[in-house]
């Protein structure tokens, strides 16, 4: 027919025929009852497709020649369109189709099983008719209805469920919908429907969920509910600001608990406990972030900034961390494997990094290290050195050069002692002297006090001094009698022998009793010339402490009075042969000591600030006030947080000493004077 130029008639005939045929089909579909509606529709669609196939084959010639030239719709497409217009969009079918589909979805959502295969076919039909048909006739209303459904459901759940359960339900629904799409919806709907669920079930209730009493985020954190937290993380990640909200609440919680921790006077009584608690807290949250929050870097950062915030709320944190390290290095790490030692030291370093006042830590660390080295009470030399290396890596050579100097002195002293005894073989039988020669700059400064050593010792000490100065010219030695220890063998009344480990002061006092049975305080003071407060403390530790009372005091009071009399305690007993009485262990500082240290730190900071100012001004030649403050603060950040008022004071001092001048016209500007 086409060849004979009757293409028109053929085409229009096709249209008419098909249309009327479809109208009949439409009727039969409409007549289908209840559940059979979809089946009927599907069957007829199947038929239609088959027929369309055949028709196309038959009319192929027309399809190829007549249609392109007249720009009419090709046969197949025509068939689709006619189906769409006459069946799908027919008044009675359109609504019923949609409602049926939505009803089925609802049924499935409420737990019933539906004919998924049939659903899939119908949906496919809609897709075949064109994406816009799918979207307009199904998807859009589907999404609306779903939103309503989930709105209602989420409202219901949130009233009766706790957070963890709610999240489980939300997760389940989400998975369901995704599965639904896979099974019988078109792939393009996946994101759209999941967005609906996310919005209705999660986004709309986010804050309420997080803050839910007894089961919200904070409770989950406190109880280490890894699974629930993980679920929350995954779900909230899907919605805008979800993770942000979690992070915010977590941060303020950590800051709050941290703040309580560092300001609680009970906790502060034991520094080692205090630091251990900090480490435990850190471990706890590290675990949570690893196990539940996918090692999310933003959460790590939030954790770090929170710790940095509250650790620095307590000015004693640097001291306490140093005391913690001291305890570990003195005994805590005994028997611990090398790997575990490294782990603990790394954790200490992590706390150290949070400190703003690193120079305060340095001061205490030096004091405590000195005590450890001098009393020989370090568990592992390797552990000590390992920590020094870590500090050096973190803070640079300047920080640790003095500490390393201390180790060097210890080693050198050993060699010196060998040399001393080698050159004085006659001393082999007498008391053994061990001298540590400390280089003044490296060790914490101590004022040296008076102390009269017993004759045997002073002779020995002089010999050593002569020996040392003989081999090292240009040096000055001063005995630090307040830092030494002694081991003395004592025999008591009933013949019981003990070896006493005492401080040098205590030794001086005890040796007096070799020549006298009774001595009163004044006599002891005169003979030893030890400063009064130290002497009193020394006598107390030997006369008033149970188990260490090698001396007897009359009267038996706790305090040392000027007229008190002392005797050797012949009744002294101890189940140990070796008794330790000395007190050289590092302790939490008393209030006045703390003030003194703080003052020294402040004094030390002044030249550092000035040096920074001069450095900066030298290179910039001139700079305005705000910029100097900012630069100086930045430069000193790794050691301490510089106070702007203090910086200003230093600037003024430098102006007075003609290092800097103020610009005449712009008083905010400073200039470097070469």
């Amino acid at each position: 027919m086409v060849l004979h130029k009757f293409g028109d008639r053929l085409y229009s005939g096709l249209v008419t025929t098909m249309t009327s045929h479809l109208k009949e089909i439409s009727k039969s579909i409409e007549d289908a009852k209840g559940g059979l509606f979809l089946e009927e529709l599907h069957r007829k669609w199947d038929d239609h497709n088959k027929a369309l196939q055949m028709i196309r084959d038959i009319l192929m010639y027309m399809d190829r020649t007549y249609i392109p030239s007249t720009q009419k719709t090709p046969v197949h497409e025509l068939g689709m369109n006619l189906w769409r217009d006459n069946i799908i969009h027919s008044g009675k079918i359109q609504t019923r189709l949609l409602n049926t589909l939505l009803e089925l979805v609802l049924k499935e959502r409420t737990g019933e099983v539906i004919n998924r295969g049939l659903m899939r076919n119908i949906i496919k039909m809609l897709m075949d008719l064109g994406s816009s048909v799918y979207q307009g006739d199904f998807e859009r209303p589907f999404l609306e209805v779903s939103a309503e459904f989930y709105r209602g459901e989420s409202q219901k759940f949130i009233e009766c469920c706790d957070c963890g359960d709610y999240l489980k339900k939300a997760e389940r629904r989400l998975n369901e919908e995704m599965e639904r799409v896979t099974h019988y919806l078109d792939a393009q709907s996946e994101t759209k429907i999941t967005n609906v669920v996310e919005k209705e079930m999660i986004a709309n209730h986010m804050v309420r969920l997080i803050q839910m009493e007894n089961s919200g985020l904070v409770n989950m954190l406190l109880d280490d509910k890894y699974e629930d937290l993980g679920r929350m993380y995954v779900l909230f990640r899907r919605v805008q600001d979800g993770l942000l909200k979690i992070r915010e609440v977590m941060t303020s919680h950590i800051r709050e608990t941290g703040k309580q921790l560092v300001t609680d006077p009970e906790r502060l009584k034991d520094p080692v406990e205090f630091v251990q608690r900090l480490l435990d807290e850190k471990d706890k949250y590290d675990n949570i972030i690893t196990l539940s929050f996918n090692n999310d870097k933003t959460f790590q950062n939030a954790l770090n900034s929170s710790f940095e915030y509250f650790i620095n709320l307590n000015a004693r944190s640097p001291e306490f961390i140093s005391l913690f390290v001291d305890e570990k290095l003195r005994k805590g790490l005994k028997g611990v494997s090398e790997e575990d030692v490294e782990i603990i030291l790394d954790k200490v370093m992590m706390l150290f990094r949070y400190l703003q006042e690193k120079d305060v830590f340095e001061k205490y660390y030096k004091q405590h290290l000195a005590k450890r080295l001098l009393s020989g009470k370090t568990v592992s030399d390797d552990a000590e050195r390992s920590l020094i290396v870590k500090l050096k890596t973190e803070c640079g050579y300047q920080f640790t050069s003095k500490l390393e100097g201390m180790f060097t002195d210890m080693k050198t002293s050993q060699d010196t002692m060998h040399g001393f005894y080698a050159s004085h073989p006659e001393l082999g039988d007498g008391p053994t002297l061990t001298v540590q020669v400390l280089t003044t700059g490296s060790w914490p400064t101590q004022p040296s006090a008076t102390c009269n050593l017993p004759a045997e010792m002073s002779v020995l000490c002089e010999k050593f001094r002569a020996y040392y100065l003989g081999t090292h010219t240009g040096r000055r030695l001063s005995w630090q009698t307040n830092m030494g220890t002694a081991d003395i063998k004592a025999t008591f009344g009933k013949g019981q022998k003990h070896e006493l480990n005492v401080s040098t002061y205590q030794m001086c006092v005890l040796m007096l009793f070799n020549n006298a049975d009774r001595l009163n305080y004044k006599e002891i003071e005169q003979a030893t010339e030890i400063p009064a407060s130290d002497l009193k403390r020394c006598l107390q530790s030997m006369a008033c402490v149970k188990g260490k009372n090698v001396l007897r005091k009359e009267p038996m009071s706790k305090d040392i009075g000027e007229d008190d009399a002392f005797f050797v305690n012949d009744k002294f007993t101890s189940k140990f042969y070796k008794v330790k009485i000395g007190t050289v262990v590092a302790q939490k500082e008393s209030e006045p000591e703390k003030q003194e240290t703080r003052q020294r730190v402040e004094e030390d900071r002044k030249p550092q600030i000035e040096a920074a100012i001069v450095r900066i001004m030298k290179s910039r030649r001139q700079l305005d006030h705000n910029n100097i403050i900012a630069e100086v603060t930045k430069q000193l950040q790794s050691r301490f947080l510089a106070n702007p008022t203090e910086i200003k004071k230093r600037i003024e001092s430098l102006i007075e000493r003609d290092f800097l001048e103020r610009d005449n016209s712009d008083r905010k500007l400073y200039r470097y004077l070469a």
Binding site: D624, H625, N626, I629, P644, T645, K648, K649, E652, I655, E656, R662, R667, K668, Y670
Partner: protein, 231 residues
Amino acid sequence: MRRSASRKTGQPNSTPSLNSSPADLFRSASSKATTKELERIDALYYSYANGSSAMIDPEGIEALCSDMEVDHTDVRILMLAWKMKAEKQGYFSLEEWRRGLKALRADTVNKLKKALPELEKEVKRPTNFVDFYSYAFRYCLTEEKQKSIDIESICELLDLVLGSQFREQVDFFVEYLKTQNDYKVINNDQWMGFYRFCNEISFPDFSNYDPELAWPLILDNFVEWMLAKQS
């Protein structure tokens, strides 16, 4: 000038030559008048100067003041010193005397006295005042290498120099200086800072004062003290 003319005359000529310009005539006429003035100025100098040191010493200044009927602690004497660019407090050298009196066109005590109001006006002009204010501080540094002035003297100086212009600020600042313990002396930087402070900062609310800026620390403390007092 023609080469021949200069070669002919050779030496500098003090008498006006016939072919000089009107300006030259005027200048030389005034310099003639100045020579007479200069003589009187010098004479006046020697009438007050100390015989042995040939300088006007504190006694001489006191005499001058009483002749001018001005108290010797009056700020106008300081202004006079400024005009002379006098270096040492309590003393005038001949050069300084000449400089000052010549500038004031005064060669008698009376003329000098009459020149004082004009001098005051001149000093009070903003451009001059900063210079005068700065001078006042330097003038009080009596020892060599001295960089700061004690609190007592500073209070007097402040009152003298700024009292008329910034009465309230001076009074409060003086009170503060006398009560505080941090500073025993004031240096030049702080001195100049205070003048800037009086000019720029609204008083007594200090609403535009920002301690984070480059104000000397003593002023930060002063403002803090004032605000504490006011609340």
